[in-house]
């Protein structure tokens, strides 16, 4: 998203290393093959809106201010 993309989505995953001729580190790390897609934002407004949608609001304790 930070690179300028919107609409990131993983659509598929599968163990694509199991049974390979040589042993590797894939199983050790639980490695899956995946498909993912995204789209370059059409403009800054679209990107800003997408980033804003990702934001999380963190409750601020009233006894500590923003400057605490």
């Amino acid at each position: 998203m930070a690179a300028g993309y919107v609409g990131f989505e993983i659509t598929w995953s599968k163990d694509v290393f199991g049974g390979a001729p040589q042993a590797g580190s894939a199983e050790k790390f639980g490695t899956l093959g995946i498909n993912f897609r995204a789209r370059k934002a059409v403009n800054e407004e679209e990107l800003t809106a997408a980033l804003a949608a990702l934001s999380c609001e963190v409750p601020i304790d009233g006894s500590e201010g923003a400057g605490a």
């Binding site: 930070a2 690179a3 300028g4 993309y5 993983i10 659509t11 598929w12 995953s13 599968k14 694509v16 290393f17 049974g19 390979a20 001729p21 040589q22 042993a23 590797g24 580190s25 894939a26 050790k28 790390f29 639980g30 490695t31 899956l32 093959g33 995946i34 498909n35 993912f36 897609r37 995204a38 789209r39 370059k40 934002a41 059409v42 403009n43």
Partner: protein, 205 residues
């Protein structure tokens, strides 16, 4: 032995690239050798490539296929579109894309391994596809003009790059506004220790 002595040295990008080139040169030259990943037509079937996509694609290109996903499952390529294939290898995905976008479309395959590019160019010639070209280069600095591509595809390549942010930014640079990113790659479900990330043999195996 102190922690400082046991610690792996920082990952050297040049050495990593050389190790990856060596590995994939072997996939180009000896695809039947047997690797820690699947290859060739059986892999394409596992990744749900349609048989019709492979029709007319030379076997020399298919045999060195080493992807981890299926970029074409993520959205249709339309006639006349421009496509960049990052880490094209022996060219299977570039050639499929070239068939899909037709003679009015264009495909640029980029790879850093010369022997793979040689196979890809030969396969394109054999398939009679004139709307595809192959360029040597790195994903972090693609030899493609800004805003050139409608679609960027890649398959099993991003995971081989230590600086994924830079690679994704570069992919974004060559895409038009609204352009599509369609990628097959890998996901690790267990945390990879920082020390392991500095071991080149783990990147290639």
């Amino acid at each position: 032995m102190s922690d400082a002595i046991r610690e792996q040295p920082a990952l050297d990008l040049g050495s990593l690239r050389e190790a990856i080139k060596e590995e994939y040169s072997e996939v180009a030259a000896n695809p039947q050798k047997g690797f820690h990943f699947h290859t060739g037509r059986p892999l394409a079937q596992m990744l749900e490539y349609a048989e019709e996509w492979l029709e007319g694609i030379p076997e020399s290109s298919i045999e060195s296929f080493a992807g981890t996903g299926n970029p074409f499952s993520l959205g249709e390529l339309r006639l006349g579109e421009r496509v960049v294939d990052v880490g094209c290898g022996a060219g299977i995905d570039s050639l499929i894309a070239a068939k899909k976008v037709g003679p009015d479309g264009r495909v640029i395959g980029v790879d850093m391994t010369p022997s793979m590019l040689e196979k890809a160019r030969h396969a394109a010639h054999e398939a009679g596809l004139e709307n595809v070209e192959f360029r040597e280069g790195y994903a972090e600095s693609l030899p493609v003009d800004e805003g050139w591509a409608d679609v960027l595809i890649s398959n099993g390549v991003l995971n081989l790059m230590p600086d994924k942010d830079t690679a994704l930014q570069e992919m974004c640079r060559v895409l038009k506004s609204g352009g599509r990113l369609q990628i097959g790659d890998i996901l690790v479900q267990k945390a990879v220790p920082e020390s392991a990330k500095r071991k080149i043999d783990l990147w290639t195996g």
